[in-house]
Symmetry: C2
Subunit: 136 residues, 2 copies
């Protein structure tokens, strides 16, 4: 288990996120589902899973299901949270089209810092409260 606390690549983050999503929607994640979702080949998924397993982020028994470790799940949740915040900001505050907002968020979720995310969350909250005030 390669446990140096280095940042994951965007690609590996996407694998974690996808596995978490599949578990949420289908209860289980299989290689085939992941490759379909990410539009890559099974062989690519396999290689990525080996890397992630090596880092202690996924569990993958040969020919079996794919699961996230606690740490892997935490990372996936973190990225999903970033995506959700970005999508909300883009659609509800900027008025960006849903599809474009999602596409942008899925790329930016890998690069926004925790500091900027925190400020963005605060800002969204503030704008929301101002909006309510006006409606009263």
């Amino acid at each position: 288990m390669d446990n140096l606390n280095k940042r994951l690549t965007e690609s590996l983050e996407n694998y974690l996120e996808t596995i978490a999503m599949l578990k949420r929607e289908n209860k289980i994640a299989r290689v085939k589902d992941i490759s379909k979702e990410l539009d890559v080949k099974n062989s690519s998924v396999n290689i990525a899973l080996n890397v992630l397993a090596d880092k202690g982020l996924v569990i993958h028994e040969k020919y079996g299901y794919v699961d996230l470790t606690e740490e892997g799940q935490k990372i996936a949740d973190d990225i999903q949270h970033k995506e959700d915040v970005l999508v909300k900001f883009f659609t509800e505050i900027l008025g960006v089209d849903q599809e474009i907002a999602l596409k942008d968020a899925c790329r930016m979720e890998h690069t926004i810092s925790d500091e900027t995310l925190a400020k963005l969350i605060f800002f969204i909250g503030k704008i929301g409260r101002e909006g309510n005030k006006r409606k009263k």
Copy 2:
């Protein structure tokens, strides 16, 4: 000249942006300046310049200066504009620290869509006008 209108990689965009910046600040750009700025080796710069020259975005005479073509300059300006808008939003509206804002913007400038950028510019303008109103 490989003139398929495909999107550039983040790395190549960074080279264009850096060359544009050096031209702006120093009048000229040299391999050494680019490598220093991007923290890569001269040999890496060379390879990138060959790729960019092949795409008709830079001009690079052997052992000579590096310049941008009109198209290369246009792309560089576009990326720089995205960076400026993002930095402005992060610092002036969200209140993010200057250094972190710049770091985030330098990554996100490669992924934000034109649509989202346009909405963000509009939003910044609107917030600015509201701010002025209050001050009156």
